[in-house]
Symmetry: C2
Subunit: 345 residues, 2 copies
DNA sequence: ACTCGTTATGCATCCGGATGCATACCATAT
DNA sequence: ATATGGTATGCATCCGGATGCATAACGAGT
């Protein structure tokens, strides 16, 4: 019964006597009607008399019939599956997003196919494989996708939404937080509290989040007649990189550090405190971006900008499930969460 | 072209002129051979002459033909999809597990269908829906599933593996860490370091992890002539619950607290330190279980038992992909990670 | 009773591959 | 040349539903 059949390189068994499900024909036979009538009965818009629909539903119930999604998908070319492409599941922001998105999709009747991509890796070449599954839509978070691929999908009437990323090409819908404005608020906050030696610890180059946050921060500084005392690069949005960068940031003797996101900030705080004995915020103020759960933990009590995940997820799922929603870029406002890592004026 | 067709309550479009893929018949026609030959060409064990297989592969390449997974799945009743049922994605331990599992499944040629379940909720009634997708196997983490359902799946030759959970019924394969032994090591550690007023902060009742850790801890205490100075219950493995429980634990004036997992411990530490000014470990020692990334962060530097996620994931995926692996319970050893939250003797 | 306009049903086919069975092919053995 | 065994191919069907088209049934209007 075994075979060496391979699907994409994996062994499978041929139909090993798996229990055949009850089919629409079974129901039809039991009632002496046609299979197509049963099929229509399950289509809210299908033409079936009230009485027969009721009979069919009742029979289906008793026989334990449920329409087979795979078979249906074969002819409709729809699967009810949304793929979530996600990189960097080590960042709580994204796992939180994943959790909420899965919940929202579930509520909307969709299933989530998880497509994990190694941090920073390109996924373009792996996406065609997803088409095989008749995946209805694509949510891309913390990963890059070319607009060529995006358009290919959209032409095929499958929505693609970038989450917390955006690309220059306007035709690719995306949902992002207003990073620029958020960063400007942080700049204002730090300046208002009397800081003058500001350091920016950047996220990975090439991420739109970092670009926008950096631009917003620096522009606002300039508008207020200030400038950056230093800038540190990192290769990933991770605790370890924040930890590493903090030491470097310290070399320019800053009185405030803006880490491009919370995870970096947490790593930075720990480094400053436990390796250098820096008091936060009396010696140095620290701010981050995202407002992940740990930012609110007493050990950190980090002042940051909250990205409204719930709202962002809501919009994302709306873009995907509501075919009347125009496929445009959506930018939602962030919110300053003032905690204890910035000194008072 | 629109319709009110619903799949599980969601609107879909009927085949809206989606680009038809290149099919095996297209390839067959182009080469003047039969469709079945093309199909067999893609079956490593299929009978096709070397030359024809080569021709077919070449033609497939040029025409851009790729076997359609959905159609294949319809007849084989296999999909190459593994569902990961997961509750409590707020616990880094599980997101880490999810990340690694998705990676391992991907490497084995499987796709991961994410099935998120609200914490503590029963999923039995939602699982039949997954069968619709011809899901090949089920990994259940941090959620409960009845052995009746599990057996139903197994009878249908679809493996089910419980991750970090176990049920009394031996017939349900599970992969767990040796919670009992780990807890005993912690008991030994605390006693050896001279503690005598020990408190156990329990995880939710009914979780096998909590049951085993508690049993191991208490038994070892008894073996060494000690007993628990106190015990605190919680309703979930969460930071907030640890935070809450810490205050309660404090009332019995402990000199050491064992939190049933790391997340609880982190919440507890923050409460003890920042609300009560407790010095850890000089006033009170704290230990946890799991070794999530945050446990290693300098701010906590938590002494704990590492659950070897990578090994657990490896075994889990092996149980699922290797049909020769006996479907038994697997228990992997944990490892004491001694950091700074336990005072020296 | 006789049309006409709806609404219900059924038939046949399609979606794209997989596979049992029969046949055709090929080479070696006799 | 003929029998023999293994390999290649093709045919027909199946997996389970969806759907265009044709027909039947029904209710109303005159």
């Amino acid at each position: 019964m075994r075979s060496k059949w391979k699907i994409w390189g994996l062994k499978v068994l041929r139909d090993g006597g798996r229990k055949r499900d009850v089919t629409s024909r079974d129901v039809a036979r039991a009632l002496g009607v046609s299979q197509s009538m049963v099929s229509r009965a399950f289509d809210p818009a299908g033409r079936v008399s009230k009485e027969n629909r009721a009979r069919i539903m009742r029979a289906a119930e008793t026989l334990g019939y449920v329409p087979n999604v795979i078979a249906r998908s074969l002819s409709t070319r729809r699967s009810g599956i949304v793929a979530i492409v996600i990189g960097g599941m080590d960042n709580p922001f994204y796992t939180d997003m994943l959790d909420q998105t899965a919940a929202a999709l579930d509520a909307a009747g969709y299933k989530s196919l998880l497509f994990r991509v190694p941090a920073g890796q390109d996924v373009d070449d792996q996406l065609p494989a997803l088409r095989q599954y008749n995946v209805d839509a694509l949510i891309v978070a913390s990963a890059s996708i070319s607009s060529r691929i995006a358009e290919e999908w959209q032409r095929d009437d499958r929505r693609v939404v970038l989450f917390n990323r955006s690309v220059p090409d306007q035709s690719v819908p995306s949902v992002t937080c207003d990073n620029e404005t958020g960063a400007r608020e942080l700049a204002d906050l730090l300046i208002d509290r009397g800081h003058s030696r500001l350091v920016f610890v950047a996220g990975p180059q090439g991420t739109s989040t970092n670009r926008e946050r950096e631009a917003g921060f620096i522009r606002r500084l300039m508008e207020r007649g200030c400038s950056l005392a230093g800038r540190v690069d990192t290769t990933s949005y991770s605790f370890a990189e924040g930890y590493r960068a903090a030491a470097e940031a310290l070399s320019v003797k800053p009185d405030a550090v803006f880490f491009a996101n919370d995870v970096l900030a947490l790593g930075g705080i720990d480094r400053l405190r436990y390796d250098f004995g820096v008091k936060i915020p009396s010696d140095i103020s620290v701010v981050g971006f995202d407002d992940i759960p740990m930012a609110g933990w007493p050990a950190y009590n980090l002042t940051t900008i909250r990205q409204p995940i719930d709202e962002m997820v809501r919009v994302t799922v709306e873009l995907i499930t509501d075919h009347d929603a125009p496929p445009t870029r959506r930018i939602v406002p962030g919110q300053l969460v003032s905690r204890g890592t910035v000194r008072l004026a």
